[in-house]
């Protein structure tokens, strides 16, 4: 059987666009080409109507008011707009932001920019399971704190933070709570109002919608939150985000949200069973560890370290057939091990040995069976090649070896 299979287990990077979403988008390229801001003719009215409907679909997914949805170009822009927008809007109240070490770069780099412009940022540590310590959060809040920004679910491990508890703390202290919910929305039930989240970034292309469109949820009631626009122009999106709306993208985002609302729970149940099968299958290999909290975790993700095997090399054994991500090269050309895994206390050696598998709506059981076999074969191949695996097997304490770091 030399048929070449290509299996996609990198759904946390991006998801395929659901064909139903593509169908919904198509008319908005040629037949209905209007600018949603054109008020003077039917082309514009049709586009505006389509955007309004999509805004309702997206709002319904997170149980929000459509007026609380600001369309953006994606989660990175939403993170930037949320954090910088709050920092500028609430400058008179304080300049301190609290976040975590394991956020996405869109949050971490934005926070660094704020530090350079005179703001103060506290980066909370996470425990070995990837979750923050609530007492540390409480202790970090000062009278200068204007924002707590903590991701809903981690992109590398799928670990879900104690969102309701964090929301309660923020409410008690009167601090705004923002969340990068990019990996959670559309996959698990996410309700910012019930959770006490006031600002929330998410995107279409992680939930089977097109790339290039995302949203920022901004609470309008209890409290009414405002963010300072980061782009100047025509004053679209209630003045918070100027720029001609990406009508086909927004229509697709809306359709993706509608499908997610209807199918999320059945998808999640099916995928968690497949994920567990994959995880259990791979953990039959010796010296194999699952990273992160297994109870509070996204249903479709597993992050596994194969000790004494380097992740990028391992990936090369099967990447002609299976697409995954490695914790050792998550930022493409960078040779640093994953900062998320390092923040969880994994040694650099285990962090270099990790692979993230993220399943999706179109993953089949056959895919998982194939992956278990191919990855196991790859791990065994790499271990046959690995001098440290040989040393481990000979009973040498690898910590006693004097390595020539380079």
């Amino acid at each position: 059987m030399e048929t070449k299979r290509l299996i996609y287990l990198d759904n946390n990077a991006t998801t395929p666009v659901d064909p139903r979403v593509v169908d919904a988008m198509l008319p908005y390229f040629y037949e209905k080409p209007g600018n949603a801001a054109s008020r003077s003719h039917p082309f514009g009215w049709i586009a505006e109507e389509a955007v309004d409907y999509a805004r309702e679909q997206v709002a319904a997914l997170i149980d929000a008011d459509p007026k609380e949805i600001i369309f953006t170009s994606g989660a990175t822009e939403s993170d930037n707009l949320g954090i910088k927008g709050v920092y500028e809007m609430y400058a008179s109240k304080g300049n301190h932001i609290i976040t975590t070490r394991t956020e996405h770069k869109a949050v971490l780099d934005t926070c660094q920019k704020i530090e350079k412009s005179g703001g103060q940022v506290t980066y909370l540590e996470v425990g070995p399971d990837g979750r923050i310590n609530l007492d540390e959060l409480k202790a970090a809040i000062t009278d200068k704190t204007i924002l707590v920004c903590i991701m809903w679910a981690n992109n590398e491990t799928g670990v879900i933070q104690p969102m309701k508890e964090i929301g309660a703390i923020c409410a008690e202290k009167g601090v705004l709570f923002m969340s990068d919910a990019t990996q959670a929305v559309g996959k698990i039930p996410v309700n910012p109002r019930e959770t006490g989240v006031h600002i929330m970034a998410f995107t279409s292309h992680k939930m089977y919608g097109p790339k290039g469109v995302g949203a920022l949820y901004v609470s309008r009631k209890n409290p009414r939150v405002k963010v300072t626009a980061q782009m100047d122009g025509g004053g679209h999106e209630r003045g918070m985000r100027s720029g001609t709306l990406n009508v086909p993208g927004i229509v697709g985002f809306g359709k993706a949200a509608e499908i997610a609302k209807a199918e999320m729970l059945s998808d999640a149940a099916r995928l968690s069973a497949l994920r567990d099968k994959l995880e259990n299958g791979l953990c039959r290999l010796e010296e194999t560890y699952v990273n992160g909290n297994k109870e509070h975790r996204m249903p479709h993700v597993t992050n596994i370290s194969f000790k004494h095997v380097e992740g990028e090399g391992l990936m090369m054994t099967f990447n002609q057939n299976i697409a995954v991500s490695s914790g050792s090269a998550c930022t493409s050309a960078s040779l640093e091990p994953s900062y998320v895994l390092v923040a969880m206390g994994l040694g650099d050696d285990l962090a270099h040995s990790s692979i993230r598998f993220s399943l999706g709506r179109f993953t089949t059981e056959e895919d998982v069976d194939f992956a278990i076999e191919a990855v196991s074969k790859g791990v065994n191949h790499m271990r046959d090649l690995s001098p440290i695996w040989e040393m481990y097997k000979e009973g040498i304490d690898l910590n006693s070896v004097v390595w020539s770091a380079h």
Binding site: H308, V309, E310, E312, G313, M316, S328, A329, S332, A333, L335, P337, G347, D348, D349, H352, M382, D384, L385, S386, P387, I388, W389, E390, L398, V401, W403, S404, A405, H406
Partner: protein, 139 residues
């Protein structure tokens, strides 16, 4: 990042994987790199004591595809060379042969270090280290 055909070939069909008996006097072992850095190479040579020619070379590497290809290539090049010839192998020769991209040049450096380290170990074991150049200097 796509790998070159040569890297892929060495990665899929690595040459000279294995272990030589390091207790033998004519075997030199070099172990370079560190697990925390994401690559460790162990390169071994077996030398004919009469002729000074490297008769066998083996490696094991923990690392990415380029690291494995670099060490596989190094063992191929070492066999049949004299110690002095082996010392002239430069990391840039490996870069060129395997068409390594800039981010993977460190893999070739590690392979050169592994060669030098294996030779140094062999020389130490056989009392050839340090004395030889000193004698030359005195002459």
């Amino acid at each position: 990042m796509a790998y070159s055909e040569k890297v892929l070939d060495h990665f899929q069909h690595p040459k000279n994987v294995g272990t030589l008996d390091k207790s033998k006097k004519n075997v030199g072992t070099g172990l370079v790199g560190a697990p925390e850095c994401g690559d460790v190479m162990r390169l071994q040579i077996e030398v004919d004591e009469v002729s000074g020619i490297i008769t066998d070379a083996k490696f094991k590497t923990f690392g990415c595809g380029s690291a494995i290809a670099s060490s596989s290539l190094a063992t191929e090049w070492l066999k049949g060379k004299s110690i002095d010839e082996a010392l002239t192998i430069d990391n840039m020769d490996i870069v060129e042969e395997l068409a390594l991209p800039p981010v993977k040049i460190h893999c070739s450096v590690l392979a050169e270090d592994a060669i030098k380290s294996a030779i140094s170990d062999y020389r130490k074991k056989n009392g050839l280290e340090v004395e030889a150049p000193q004698l030359e200097n005195q002459a």
